[in-house]
């Protein structure tokens, strides 16, 4: 590990993110905030949903934004940089082990995911108030869950970024990201699936479920949610699996 090179790469990513600030902002927040507005404001305001739904929805949207930002911010640049132009080469040739180049990408992705998640809370609260009641009873657990969610989303981005070619980006979103979002317990709690037992068990393979349930369990614990122990175990498991797979894919892609 070469601290100077690692920090310089983080600075490079921050610089590029700053340069693309407005598109990045739109891409991260537009969709989640539209969901918040339609589901939380319009549907609740018109009586199709009970008022408590606002509080139930916000942690799910936070999970969705974090996972979206983490995956997107790691996968999309990597897909480009590993293409024909091989832009990533100057970082692969920096005096640092190749795995650390991948880890730097993950850390940069985690920071973006955390920024996205933490911004959704005040933004969603502003859009939905009154009626959103968050009760942060275990702040440390919340921080732990948020970090683990950021890590799995950025590691997932690493796996996808090193496995998908530029021609298949659209497919990646329709086949991987979209099902993950719809079956990720973002708009409904996991317990709401009790009438669909097969589905209820199957979605446990979706890491976003643990993210949504974990944030729900720490931000609005009065709603039914998976036990925090199960959430933490699930998130740690997916973090380890995705990070290991991502590092392996990165090596395969980086070295001929």
């Amino acid at each position: 590990m070469n601290r100077k090179a690692f920090l310089a790469m983080l600075a490079r990513d921050a610089h590029v993110a700053r340069r693309n600030f407005v598109p990045l902002l739109l891409q991260t927040f537009l969709q989640p905030l539209m969901f918040v507005f339609i589901f939380g404001r319009v549907m609740v305001g018109s009586g199709y949903m009970p008022p408590e739904y606002k509080s139930l929805l916000l942690p799910g949207i936070m999970a969705l934004s974090m996972v979206g930002a983490g995956i997107w911010s790691v996968a999309m640049p990597l897909i480009g940089e590993f293409q024909f132009t091989h832009e990533i080469e100057d970082r692969l040739l920096a005096p640092m082990e190749i795995s650390w180049v991948a880890i730097e990408k993950v850390v940069a992705g985690m920071l973006q995911a955390l920024a996205a998640g933490l911004t959704v809370i005040p933004a969603g609260w502003l859009l939905l108030r009154p009626g959103v009641e968050l009760s942060l009873q275990t702040p440390l657990t919340f921080v732990g869950v948020a970090l683990l969610v950021a890590l799995f989303s950025a590691s997932g981005g690493l796996v996808l970024g090193c496995s998908v070619g530029q021609a298949h980006v659209g497919l990646m979103f329709s086949l991987v990201v979209a099902p993950m979002i719809f079956f990720g317990c973002t708009y409904y709690p996991w317990s709401a699936l009790k009438n669909f037992p097969i589905l209820q068990n199957a979605v446990l393979l979706n890491p976003l479920v643990y993210a949504s349930e974990g944030l729900r369990g720490t931000l609005v614990p009065r709603f039914p949610h998976l036990s925090l122990l199960a959430v933490l175990a699930g998130l740690v498991l997916f973090d380890v699996l995705l990070l290991a797979a991502g590092l392996r894919q990165f090596h395969r892609k980086a070295v001929d």
Partner: protein, 339 residues
């Protein structure tokens, strides 16, 4: 000063080699007999390459596309894993001590691989930062290099809009940014106009004078001839000749090459050419042709025409080339470098 060593490097690709690392000899093998799919072709890009490049030398790898030049550079710069064999930069094993090796080397790839999210100046400055240069030092160096490579007025532009030649110049400037002991240049003058090529040659020589080792690949014989102190000519992943450009050219029998083409094939006639004064070697080639290696060029033509006319064979074409690396390559492989 740092030298380069390789021992018995082999590289076999199981799928298409990357763009820059051209394919060498094609060896098709059936791997899965029961599969209905096409068998995976194995491509031998390097076939036991051993090299010793002295510290402070400008060394050239000359060969046609797909000879294994880029694969060699890829292995020496940690970017390609050899199938077998070893390589060292200075005392460091390239594959086992990658970080130490990466500190010593600067690399210019065959295709421009600049960071498209940055401006020209930022590319150099961030590169300096990856190598631990201080803020002031990296800015100063970056500005000096932009000046040297005539990119000063483009410093704050995104490189996406740069021409191929400008990207190439910036790639070379970037590789020099951290003042590496060994500089690898893979086809450095491809796509450059003649004026910039001369500038590049001057910069390479100057860099070499400061004690740096330079390995460059090229299929341009002039470049190899004027720039390199020693050359290895490679084909199908093997070294077929090695030495100074002067020694290599002198090693071609006679030096002159006369490429002849006749109306029809006549082994007797070729036999008679052997007895002409100054002719060292006669080789039959395809399409009723013959290659004559000789000590003299034009003065042989009337005698050849005379012998052909006596034998009743029409002489259709004559091409004379003076001693050159091209002739050397032809002599060893029977093919032109450009083929």
């Amino acid at each position: 000063m740092v030298g380069i060593r390789t021992r018995n490097l082999r590289k076999i690709y199981n799928s298409s080699p990357p763009f820059a690392a051209g394919a060498g000899g094609f060896v098709s093998q059936t791997l899965g007999h029961k599969r209905r799919k096409q068998p995976k072709p194995e491509i031998v890009a390097l076939d036991g390459l051993s090299l010793d490049i002295s510290p402070g030398e400008i060394f050239g790898l000359l060969g046609p596309n797909g000879a294994g030049k880029s694969t060699t550079v890829g292995i020496l710069t940690t970017r390609v894993q050899p199938t077998s064999g070893k390589a060292w930069i200075g005392e460091y094993d390239v594959w086992k001590e990658q970080v130490a090796v990466k500190r010593l080397i600067g690399v210019v790839a065959q295709r421009p691989n600049l960071d498209f999210s940055l401006t020209a100046l930022e590319i150099l400055v961030f590169h300096g930062a990856y190598f631990g240069l201080g803020a002031e030092e990296r800015t100063q160096r970056a500005e000096a290099l932009l000046e040297r490579f005539k990119l000063r007025d483009r410093a704050d532009q995104m490189v996406r809009g740069f021409s191929g030649g400008m990207m190439q110049r910036l790639s070379i400037a970037r590789a020099m940014m951290h003042d590496p002991q060994v500089l690898f240049l893979d086809e450095p003058s491809a796509g450059l106009d003649p004026q910039t090529r001369l500038l590049l040659w001057e910069i390479i020589r100057e860099y070499n004078h400061s004690g740096k080792t330079i390995l460059l690949t090229t299929h341009n014989m002039e470049e190899a001839d004027v720039l390199c102190q020693r050359l290895a000519i490679i084909d199908h992943g093997r070294i077929i000749a090695l030495g100074t450009p002067r020694d290599l050219k002198a090693s071609v029998p006679g030096g002159f090459l006369l490429r002849l083409r006749f109306g029809h094939h006549s082994p007797d006639l070729l036999q008679r050419f052997q007895s002409l004064a100054g002719v060292r070697e006669v080789r039959a080639t395809n399409h009723n042709g013959a290659d004559l290696y000789a000590d003299r060029g034009g003065s042989l033509v009337p005698e050849i025409a005379n012998l052909a006319s006596v034998a009743g064979v029409e002489l259709c074409d004559v091409h004379i080339s003076e001693p050159s690396l091209e002739n050397l390559f032809l002599h060893h492989t029977g093919r032109s470098l450009r083929e």
